[in-house]
């Protein structure tokens, strides 16, 4: 059994740390795991994605359109850009916030509209990660909120997540991050139950 998770967003949003948490949880639960990310220029506000694959046996660290089981999008346009990667029966968790790319900010290109409606049509669950992160006590913990949302529906023990988060984030922020995780998890549970 192979599971493919894609985390996507804007360079600097914390996709790399979030992917690291997921990979460490899968490893702690005794699975094989691979993670593939891109550093360098795209991390300066460009479009980024990180892929985590786990299972009993796996080969390639990258994925293809139509192969992603769970997509976690930190931003609306980045979710839209990669919808075709998600299996028709795959799950999409989306932070319903738009970060306008430079060509839109400058007025060179129009801002896309109606993204939420299209994503909703495609079955996305919206998790307002920025809002929940502020609620959790740290606006920077939006990535951990989204991992909390992702965790709902993955077969990993809550304790494993908490241990990995506590060992990976700065000591002063452990409490805020654990809160953020819980809020994201609860929001996803609520969102999926509401469907």
């Amino acid at each position: 059994m192979l599971t493919t998770v894609m985390l996507c967003g804007v360079g600097g949003q914390g996709t790399i740390l979030a992917a690291d948490l997921l990979a460490k949880v899968a490893a702690a639960e005794g699975l094989e795991v691979k993670l593939s990310e891109v550093h360098g220029m795209s991390q300066r506000g460009g479009s980024v994605d990180t892929v985590v694959k786990y299972g009993d046996e796996l080969f390639s660290p990258v994925t293809d359109p139509g192969m992603v089981d769970h997509m976690v999008a930190f931003e609306l346009m980045e979710a839209m850009r990669r919808i075709h990667y998600v299996r028709p029966d795959g799950r999409m968790l989306v932070n319903p916030r738009a970060i306008q790319p430079l060509p839109v900010l400058t007025g060179d290109l129009p801002a896309p509209h109606g993204m939420q409606a299209i994503l909703e049509e495609e079955g996305a669950i919206f998790i307002d990660a920025d809002l929940l992160a502020c609620e959790a006590g740290s606006p920077k913990s939006a990535n951990v909120v989204l991992m909390g949302a992702l965790s709902w529906g993955l077969p990993f023990a809550l304790e494993t997540w908490n241990d990995v988060i506590a060992s990976r984030v700065p000591p002063k922020t452990i409490e805020a991050n654990l809160n953020a995780f819980q809020l994201g998890r609860a929001a996803c549970q609520k969102g999926e139950c509401a469907r």
Partner: protein, 585 residues
């Protein structure tokens, strides 16, 4: 120690450490950077960033001459810079094992080209190992040190983005420092490559490559996996993993040692399969190798540039793609951009206003080429900005437009200074802007000679750029704070009119180094006249309201640098309330 999650880069460092490497040296470059950064954190090693890759490899040659095992790390284009020592170190060979990690970037995620470093192995006649994942990166690097000493040759370990920046589980081992070498004796026949000695070493290199070719027949670095023998795929590196996922039934010859390759190894595999296909990224290196040996290859329509994936391989072999969602999701592109508060921004804003022809260089500031700043005319390789500006002037200039070379602090120390010496020597009259943001930023904040921060935080000192320029003979040198937009523009306007060499050092720390953010700004809609000057800064915090065409500032993104306040002629940019107010974006 159990299994831990390590990137390919970290695993190369771990493998080198286990093999007893005592020194690591390199120059940062995506996707290689974390290799040396990780090595530097391991116990009982010395590690340093060199000013460039040629220097790094020469330092390593010295370590090897003195009998120590040494790891060198660089990106693919770095090996161009280091190719001069490499091609002769193949002749001299080594004393202590010398292993070079070269990280390629097929698909050009963060590079100016996608050259395949396999060609360097064949060109220099040095062996190349091609790990496919972290476990192999660790094991192959460990083995590479032994091979280097056994065959008396530097060894290249080639990775790609999907090895370097992929993480998987590995089981780190312990460190085994090899026994001391016999006492050093001067050996000019081996180490002094004057023609008489080099001629002998050239013949000796052929012998060493012959031995390595024979070794390639027997080594477990190479592996034939027989499954369905109707298709046999030859591949190396991470492509092996893509092939295994894409074509699980195919027989595979995995070349862990991709140069040199024994024709006998290929023959044995080719004879057992009906159809022989090479699958590789970015270049046709393995394919050409096999064709030159006389093997008939079946060709499939693989992409000839960029990265492969399991899906692109399946497509090339005629498999149907999986069902896809059909939503229309075309989106505006999201190019990378300078951070809010970036000190490079005002320099490019001024250069645009000057209509300058800007010869650029490699670093975050290359983003100054993108709209709306759109103030860069060329970017070729590290250091080219200064030499190209000189050349453009030799051709009689660029009409009525001034020429300005723009280069970062680390890139200046890398190879920019060489060009500057040459320009001054030849009575050049260029204007050079050194963007000293106190760090090597794009690769993730490494130290460099200009900021004096060393890899293992040993005491050092900063290069005095003013004194350096003056010592070269440049009279017109000044330091300007780029956050003062008027001063930045005035300095450029003045220097481009002078018929002599001038250097402006724009000195201000990278925005990501500034921990104390200022209060964010906001736009006073009443005062905004829609002039668009603030938008032209290309700051990710500033946008144009689609309905009103007035500017707005995203307070969650703004770092309060105040650059936009200085361009607004109407006083419309004012301090706002605190961040974490997530009103409707």
């Amino acid at each position: 120690m159990g299994r831990i999650l390590l990137s390919g880069n970290e695993s190369v460092a771990q493998g080198a450490w286990e093999a007893g490497a005592v020194v690591g040296v390199g120059y940062p470059g995506t996707p290689s950077t974390e290799t040396l950064a990780h090595f530097a954190r391991l116990p009982d090693v010395y590690a340093e960033w060199a000013s460039n890759e040629k220097v790094a490899l020469e330092v390593a040659a010295g370590v090897s001459l003195a009998g120590g095992r040494v790891l060198v790390a660089m990106k693919h284009v770095g090996l161009n810079v280091a190719s001069d020592p490499l091609l002769t170190l193949a002749y001299t060979g080594v004393r202590g094992g010398l292993v070079i990690l070269v990280a390629d970037d097929p698909g050009m995620h963060s590079s100016q080209n996608e050259q395949d470093s396999h060609n360097y192995a064949a060109f220099a006649r040095v062996p190349m190992l091609d790990p496919c994942d972290s476990a192999e990166a660790m094991a192959f690097t460990r083995e590479a040190f032994g091979l280097s000493e056994r065959f008396d040759v530097p060894v290249l370990v080639r990775s790609t983005v999907r090895v370097s920046h992929a993480k998987s589980l590995v089981e780190p081992g312990s460190r085994a420092v090899p026994d001391d070498q016999p006492a050093y004796k001067t050996n000019p026949a081996k180490w002094v490559m004057m023609p008489a000695m080099a001629k002998q070493r050239r013949l000796d290199l052929d012998r060493r490559i012959d031995e390595l070719t024979a070794f390639s027949r027997e080594t477990t670095l190479n592996r034939a996996e027989y499954r369905d023998t109707s298709l046999g795929v030859v591949c190396s590196g991470v492509t092996y993993l893509h092939v295994r996922e894409a074509l699980p039934d195919a027989s595979v010859l995995k070349l862990g040692l991709s140069f040199p390759v024994s024709p006998d190894l290929i023959s044995e595999f080719a004879e057992k399969v009906d159809r022989l296909v090479v699958v590789e990224e970015a270049d046709g290196f393995l394919g050409r190798t096999l064709l030159a040996m006389g093997f008939s290859l079946d060709s499939v329509p693989l992409p000839t540039s960029g990265e492969l994936t399991p899906g692109s391989i399946r497509q090339a072999f005629g498999f149907e793609p999986p069902p896809l969602r059909e939503a229309d999701t075309s989106m505006p592109p999201r190019p990378p951009l300078m951070c809010p508060g970036c000190p490079h921004r005002p320099v490019f804003n001024a250069l645009r206003k000057l209509r300058a022809v800007v010869t650029g260089d490699i670093g975050c500031y290359t983003l100054g080429a993108l709209r709306p700043l759109a103030a860069m005319d060329s970017c070729v390789c590290m250091g080219a900005s200064i030499s190209m500006a000189h050349g453009a002037e030799l051709a009689g200039g660029m009409g009525d437009r001034p020429i300005v070379a723009v280069i970062g602090d680390s890139t200046f120390a890398h190879t920019g200074v060489n060009g500057l010496i040459s320009s001054v020597y030849n009575a050049g009259t260029s204007t050079v802007a050194i963007l000293d943001n106190r760090i090597t930023a794009m690769t993730g904040h490494q130290g460099n000679p200009v900021n004096g921060i060393t890899l293992q935080k040993r005491p050092s000192h900063e290069v005095d750029l003013i004194a350096l320029c003056k010592a070269l003979g440049i009279e017109r040198v000044r330091v300007v704070d780029p956050h003062d937009l008027e001063a930045a523009e005035d300095a450029l306007r003045e220097e481009v009119t002078h018929e002599e060499m001038s250097v402006i050092i724009f000195k201000a720390p990278c925005a990501l180094l500034v921990k104390d953010k200022g209060d964010p700004y906001a736009v006073d809609e009443e005062a905004c006249t829609k002039c668009g000057l603030c938008i032209k800064l290309g700051c990710p915090a500033i946008g144009k309201n689609e309905q009103t065409s007035k500017a707005y500032i995203d307070t969650a993104v703004c770092v309060g640098c105040g650059q936009c306040v200085q361009v607004c002629r109407y006083g419309a940019i004012v301090h706002s309330g605190p961040a974490c107010d997530l009103g409707g974006v």
